[in-house]
Symmetry: C2
Subunit: 342 residues, 2 copies
């Protein structure tokens, strides 16, 4: 029992709450035999949902009662002040107390970041935690950060994001030397803003495998492992991609449903379309890491289904196994020592 | 002859220069019988390329010699100083002199913007010209600006972009009251940066049909006609979309080419895939407007083929017919008058 990786789940968070988190937990327990999960939330409701799924608590599945829920549209400051017994807060408290090694939540991102930062604190040397996610690319995938935790990031922040993203990529992809790129705009146009130029100078001097500026399309080319940007820019890039993907998928569907002939074509194309969809299934990429904290917190998409949510649990598990916060901390320390020498 | 809309083409600009611009010009002359074109560049080379296409100058197709070419990777300041007889500069000079009513170039964006601004000047009240393009959306298309002419845009600049984009949408789409949105990041995250918040306040007070904040995915939902953002953000959103679209198209192709069965499926799906591709063909959307200048300048994509370049010529024609700079100017004047009253 003691060798299990313990993960606390904010069971009430997200658009679907228990109806997704409970089946996701059961799925993850089957998939990973080295994890134990703590469902945090209204005990009676959790018990009822477990019963619906013909499941019960066990040595690997515990319940921790929490009386409140943070609303998806609640202001972070309001949640911090008034929801001290929320499922989100209690899940993160469990990480702080050492009862869990990671927390997963599909709740309100702003509140999650504020709570995690307040309870767990940032690593020494980190000014701002960042949100990092994995995006499928032509030849694999790309880690991208920040995705909205920070706006108006300064050069030093972008530098810290690069360092954190690089460590995460090393840990998750087992890639000893991930290529890090800084998101900028085209060579033809007026090049970059002041923060990006200053971050470029810092990164050129860093021990990271920094490959220089990349552009928006490079996120999908797959020749870079980590793409670093301000949270405003990263959030827009991610949401824009989501919008385009939805449009393409809807249009493809509409075109294939146009008439009997196209419906037949769709039928024959089914295996092709399915394999295509599988490769880009956003659920397979669900789970964004909150990096720079003294603890592991993974954000599941608010609208995630149980398959997607189980993927986020898997990411938390990997971060525990790979000791991501400790690795980032170690890297920060060696960097700081190097700077003091210089 | 005097009723023709006269458009100057930077015949040497872009990745492919004459080999694209000349056939595009011939195509456009066929398509639009109310335009006359001036090919600006090396006269001997233009003559030779016309001969290759079994074409010659005419009352509707003139040549204006220019001895220099701005390189695609040339710094704008260098081009401004050393390339005063470039095809790009001479084409814009023709607009200034009234010999043409618009210029089209597939050349270096930074140099084009700097040259256009220097030669034509901005409209009174406009601090920074912006680049605006049309993006296909679920139910039509969206105009988006700025796409990279400006980084670190302040609230007043974003406000001006909104006004210019709104006038362009009115002119191009024949839409009397285009819906304008300001690009921001998710409700869940920390909302917006200072510039965006301040621009939001300005736009709420404006006579525009301002619908408030939109997110990246709204660009493709099609419920907004004009999306306004800083040039860094807009450039990243556009390039990210291009990268994703390329990846999706490459993967779809790869999946359909996997084996004999999938190749058969592709054959049967051909009409569906073709109609899909036609709808999203980026060539049909080629031609970005440089707005805020005392004259019409349209930027064609550097890698555009002749079909795409002819589309950019069509956009220049529409802007001439609709008198876009004059409309923006009028809107600015009435706005200024309103502000003085207030």
């Amino acid at each position: 029992m003691s060798e299990q990786y313990r993960i606390a789940l904010d069971a009430m968070g997200g658009d679907h709450g228990l109806s997704v988190v409970v089946p996701a937990a059961l799925e993850a327990l089957k998939k990973f035999d080295d994890i134990a999960l703590i469902l945090v939330g209204d005990e009676a409701q959790i018990q009822a949902t477990l019963a619906e799924h013909k499941a019960a608590t066990s040595g690997r599945l515990a319940i921790r009662h929490a009386s409140q829920v943070v609303a998806m549209d609640e202001m972070p400051a309001h949640a911090m002040k008034n929801k001290k017994d929320s499922s989100m807060r209690v899940a993160i408290n469990l990480v702080k107390a050492g009862e869990a090694e990671a927390a997963v939540s599909a709740g309100n991102t702003g509140a999650l970041m504020a709570t995690a930062r307040f309870v767990l604190k940032t690593l020494p040397g980190i000014d701002r935690p960042a949100i990092c996610t994995v995006i499928p690319s032509m030849h694999g995938h790309t880690h991208m950060l920040d995705l909205g935790a920070n706006v108006d990031s300064e050069a030093e922040h972008l530098y810290q994001f690069a360092l954190m993203g690089s460590e995460l990529a090393k840990a998750i992809d087992n890639n000893p030397n991930p290529k890090v790129g800084l998101l900028n705009i085209g060579q033809e146009a007026i090049k970059g803003n002041e923060q990006v130029k200053a971050a470029n100078a810092l990164l050129r001097e860093s021990p990271l495998n920094y490959i220089g500026y990349v552009e928006g399309d490079d996120i999908y080319h797959g020749d870079v492992d980590v793409v670093v940007c301000d949270g405003f820019v990263g959030n827009v890039a991610l949401k824009t991609s989501e919008g385009l993907a939805k449009m393409v998928s809807a249009q493809l569907k509409a075109n294939y449903s146009a008439n009997l002939f196209t419906k037949l074509a769709a039928l024959i194309s089914l295996p092709v379309l399915k394999s295509f969809r599988r490769k880009f299934d956003p659920r397979r990429y669900n789970g964004a890491s909150l990096l720079g904290l003294q603890g592991i917190v993974v954000k599941s998409h608010g609208g995630a289904d149980s398959f997607a949510y189980a993927n986020a649990i898997g990411i938390a598990r990997t971060e525990i196994i790979e000791k991501v916060p400790q690795r980032i901390n170690k890297q920060l320390e060696s960097l700081l020592a190097e700077r003091q020498k210089a």
